[in-house]
Amino acid sequence: MTELKEELKGKIIEVLNLEDVASTDIQDDDALFGEGLGLDSIDALELIVLMDKDYGIKLSDPKNGKAIFESITTMASYISQNRTK
């Protein structure tokens, strides 16, 4: 799980163009949206694409997104349980 969390931090920084943010700046339980990393709605869509492209997970119900994308920990947990690649 630790390896997956670090992988996710790197991918998020790259995909979302988080300039001046390093993996070490993101704590596992930091909020990704709002007060945390300050991601926006377009970033949320990019994360949905990332889940599909890299882990074969299609999020069909947007209502689940809020809980899944709460933090690196929640993302990693969901991916490890549902990944198809």
Binding site: N17, D43, E46
Partner: protein
């Protein structure tokens, strides 16, 4: 009578404000050049890094003209030659392979040329008239006439006008701010001198 109060040109790895050289980075490609120029302005605005090339160019050029001013009622009259073609092509490339079909939402939102006007408006809190023309070259007389109308009719206190062209790392931005104070009269001849 109206005046060209200020101008900014960004091209050939140079930033010129009112004709005075502010930055020259001859060894930097566009992405590094605009990033360095942006950082030199010491603005806390992370969204800049997520913009496409056209919006970065427009945002940065406008920043030199509007930063620190009470910009409230500034209309935007912009033009370029390639529209949003650079982002359009990036988006098309991402949807050509049915087996690898992953369009990027962050790219897709920039597949309209006037999004760059939106980025300027968001940054400076503008809720004003704006228009974006796509033409082979800067339509000087059209922009002059429309700008004069906006000011004469009090639809805007000032108008940010100009050319902002970006396609595959070739870029040229020449923006100028037209208002009610200054020494350089707003005229077709004086606009042409900026280009």
């Amino acid at each position: 009578m109206f005046y060209i109060e200020k101008s900014c040109a960004i091209q050939h790895q140079q930033v010129l404000v009112d004709g005075q050289l502010v930055t020259h980075e001859p060894d930097l490609e566009f992405s590094e050049f605009v990033k360095k120029s942006f950082r030199s302005l010491a603005i806390d605005y992370p969204k800049f890094y997520k913009m496409d090339g056209l919006s970065k160019l427009a945002f940065l050029t406008a920043e030199y003209l509007l930063k620190g001013s009470a910009s409230g009622n500034v209309a935007l009259v912009l033009a370029n030659q390639s529209g949003s073609m650079d982002s359009d092509l990036k988006h098309i490339r991402s949807i050509q392979d049915p087996d690898n079909f992953f369009p990027s939402p962050a790219t897709f939102v920039y597949t309209l040329a006037n999004i760059c006007a939106g980025e300027i408006s968001i940054r400076h809190g503008l809720k004003t008239e704006n228009v974006f023309f796509v033409d082979q070259q800067f339509p000087t007389e059209l922009v002059y006439t429309y700008t004069s109308y906006l000011l004469q009719s009090n639809r805007a206190q000032k108008v940010l006008c100009g050319w902002v062209e970006y396609f595959q790392d070739n870029y040229r931005a020449i923006l100028y701010l037209v208002g009610r104070e200054g020494t350089q009269v707003h005229s077709v001849g004086n606009i042409e001198l900026l280009f």
